[in-house]
Symmetry: C2
Subunit: 128 residues, 2 copies
């Protein structure tokens, strides 16, 4: 693990939530697990675009946070499945809220971004 040089402020609820869900692929991973795509190799297949190494790192972070946990079957060969902890379950509706807000406003935001770049933003005050 990487040793932080600047301490985090995890006393604020928002900071904690963003920390947990804010990783680049965390939400996607959680969505996989929620849908039952729970084995590492399955998740890797599902997320072709993302390097397996990184998915593992994110999985570990989610595990450290207590959002998911690992079930290791004493089979041969050993099988691993990730599952949501209760707190992980409680995160799902939050993700849904984010997802829904994003879907509702993503066009606006992307358009605004483009307009801002070209100076056409509706909120840009004219300098007269």
């Amino acid at each position: 693990m990487y040793q932080r040089k600047i301490p985090e402020m995890l006393d604020c609820g928002l900071a904690v939530a963003v920390k947990v869900i804010g990783g680049k692929w965390k939400a996607w991973i959680l969505d996989c697990i929620r849908r039952g795509v729970s084995r590492p190799s399955a998740i890797h297949r599902e997320m072709q675009a993302v390097n397996a190494r990184i998915i593992n790192l994110h999985l570990k972070e989610l595990e450290e946070a207590g959002i998911i946990y690992k079930e290791i079957f004493a089979e041969v060969p050993a099988r691993v499945e990730y599952r949501l902890t209760p707190v992980g379950e409680s995160l799902l509706p939050v993700i849904d809220v984010l997802e829904q807000w994003g879907n509702t406003h993503k066009d606006y935001i992307n358009r605004n971004h483009a307009d801002y770049a070209s100076g056409n933003c509706q909120f840009l005050q004219q300098s007269n």
Copy 2:
């Protein structure tokens, strides 16, 4: 502005939402503005811990996304106030949900993190 080398995937609502709210200090800034701390210098005072330069960068990003806009009063000396756009307003309940989830679970998460580090995590399977 920094020129991205890897394109973003902003078709997913969740990615957009995280992008908007995920910056290190964005939510804090939005909270300031929501509470009426709307002038740059006032925000800087409120967020002593954070360098003014960064706050400005975040403000610009929020502005580009169309979450806030700048009102420049033609006074002398020029006065600036940031305000939430309608879409920015619509983000507030989302932030509240995040904040509330975080506050409810931050102790668990911090504890779990510590336990995980010391091998005491309730979800850690024992290797027998």
